[in-house]
């Protein structure tokens, strides 16, 4: 597939054109908090050397709250009304490679025994154009789990910021190719060897561990003193799972709209919350933050790999950056690595 050059101005024009076609365009918000569906190209924030946004873009594939169906009570019984999947097409622009990489990881769990049509429809209707990352800090560790600042997993195309201010556009998938063919008027042809990216101000992520070795240790050490005080300072707030691009637990509740109507909602949930595994009997098999924290590590770096041959993590470091009490997942991995 071909590579292109696109100027910063043409990105703006392209985006407005896409919006005009009735598509949604999602980009990181200028506040750096989350991803937003923008209304105009001026709202775009494409920065290769910025810290990952606080919230990942998983909300757009697996929303924080989503109706599964609706109900209406009447004198004669309950009537159910289906919720239909979103048909709207969406362009994701400027996602970091570690964000895009979460999509194939999540797709595994949403298509394992039950095919989640809501999720699949959203993925199907999306074109993900990621941006080669020029950032790293003490909490990034994409390189330790087989990704990198230019990893292409989950991307349909990838932009690389050039020294002259334009962007090198590398098409990754058929879907990406088809999409950009529609907007070829904004692109200039080029060759892979013309790719002259800007130099990253940041070094490669400093956190290093060997996932294979970590997995081996996790396999053997479900019970280990190491776990004991790990959860001591954890407040069980669960923000790590909410900001994580790959965490995907959900809860289902009914919400009343008025006294006889409402929707059954699928909501984000978190294994770090104390009610997560609490049984109706009052018994809780994971009855302390230590056990819950172990679950988080085990699920990400062992169970998911056992089941899907994937690590449930893209090394974006969001969980650590946002942690109110400074629990450092990369640091923990490094410690396990050294056992």
């Amino acid at each position: 597939m071909k590579d292109y050059i696109i100027t910063a101005e043409n990105i703006q024009l392209l985006v407005n054109d896409v919006l005009k076609q009735g598509w949604d365009v999602v980009s990181e918000s200028k506040t750096g908090v989350n991803f937003n569906a923008i209304k105009d190209a001026s709202e775009l924030a494409i920065k290769s050397d910025s810290k990952p946004s606080k919230l990942s873009m998983k909300d757009f594939f697996f929303p924080k709250t989503e109706p599964l169906f609706f109900y209406r009570q009447s004198h004669d019984g309950v009537e159910l009304v289906d919720a239909s999947p979103i048909e709207k097409k969406t362009l994701f622009l400027g996602a970091k490679p570690c964000d895009a990489a979460a999509i194939p990881v999540l797709s595994k769990v949403f298509n394992w025994d039950y095919k989640d049509e809501f999720y699949n429809k959203r993925v199907e209707n999306s074109v993900v154009v990621s941006l080669k990352c020029n950032y790293s800090d003490d909490y990034c560790f994409c390189t330790s789990i087989g990704l990198s600042q230019k990893a292409e997993q989950g991307s349909d195309a990838m932009l690389t910021e050039q020294q002259d201010g334009s962007y090198f556009l590398h098409i990754v998938t058929e879907k990406g190719d088809e999409f950009f063919k529609m907007y070829s008027q904004y692109l200039k042809d080029t060759q892979a060897e013309n790719n002259k990216p800007v130099e990253s101000k940041y070094p490669e992520p400093a956190v290093k561990f060997d996932q294979g070795k970590v997995k081996g240790w996790l396999d053997a050490n479900f019970e280990h003193d190491f776990w004991n005080n790990l959860g001591d300072v954890c407040l069980g707030c669960g923000q790590c799972t909410f900001v994580c691009p790959t965490c995907h637990c959900f809860d289902i509740v009914d919400e009343n709209c008025n006294y006889h109507e409402g929707g059954r909602m699928k909501n984000w949930d978190s294994c770090q919350l104390c009610l997560f595994t609490k049984h109706a009997s009052g018994h809780n098999p994971r009855d302390g933050q230590t056990k819950r924290y172990r679950q988080r590590i085990q699920h990400k770096f062992k169970y998911y790999e056992d089941k899907f041959n994937e690590v449930l993590c893209t090394g974006c470091g969001r969980c650590t950056r946002g942690c109110g009490v400074g629990i450092d997942i990369g640091g923990i991995m490094e410690r396990i690595d050294k056992f």
């Binding site: 919720a83 009343n256 929707g263």
Partner: protein
């Protein structure tokens, strides 16, 4: 009532001993009132949780009135004094969050103040009618609503 004029829905939380009885007195005295108010009877204003007010707005009320015994008259000695602090704080917060204080009203109406009850409730209805429907609050309740196909 004119066909297309807006008629507000008012939920009133009242205590059993003073305001409810005061409203009963207004009834036995045949003091005419507008029909917009629906009363919920509670033992005491001390029982009224601000969540009730929130739920009323969530469920379509355009205005809320909370009313109980005058200070010193509480059937339970001090329920209304505790309520008074709670309301003052809740009202201040509502205002800060952008919920118009013209939609949230408080009064003391004793069992003998049938006339005052009429003045209060009609006043509340008129004030809320001027504000128009509380669409802001209704608009944030779309996600669980059955979509119109």
């Amino acid at each position: 009532m004119a066909e297309n004029s807006f008629e507000p829905k008012i939920t009133a939380f009242v205590c059993n001993w003073c305001t409810y009885t005061g409203a009963d007195l207004a009834g036995t005295s045949r003091l005419k009132q507008q029909t917009n108010a629906r009363l919920i009877r509670l033992p005491c204003t001390g029982r009224i949780d601000p969540v009730f007010i929130m739920k009323a707005f969530q469920n379509g009320a355009d205005g809320v009135l909370v009313s109980g015994c005058h200070p010193g008259d509480c059937h339970y000695n001090a329920g209304n004094f505790h309520a008074r602090r709670r309301w003052a704080m809740f009202k201040e917060m509502m205002d800060f969050l952008g919920i118009d204080n013209k939609r949230l009203h408080f009064s003391w109406v004793s069992a003998s103040e049938g006339k005052k009850w009429v003045d209060v409730i009609d006043g509340v209805i008129n004030t809320v009618r001027e504000q128009g429907p509380f669409t802001q609050y209704k608009d944030i309740n779309k996600e669980t609503e059955i979509p119109v196909k």
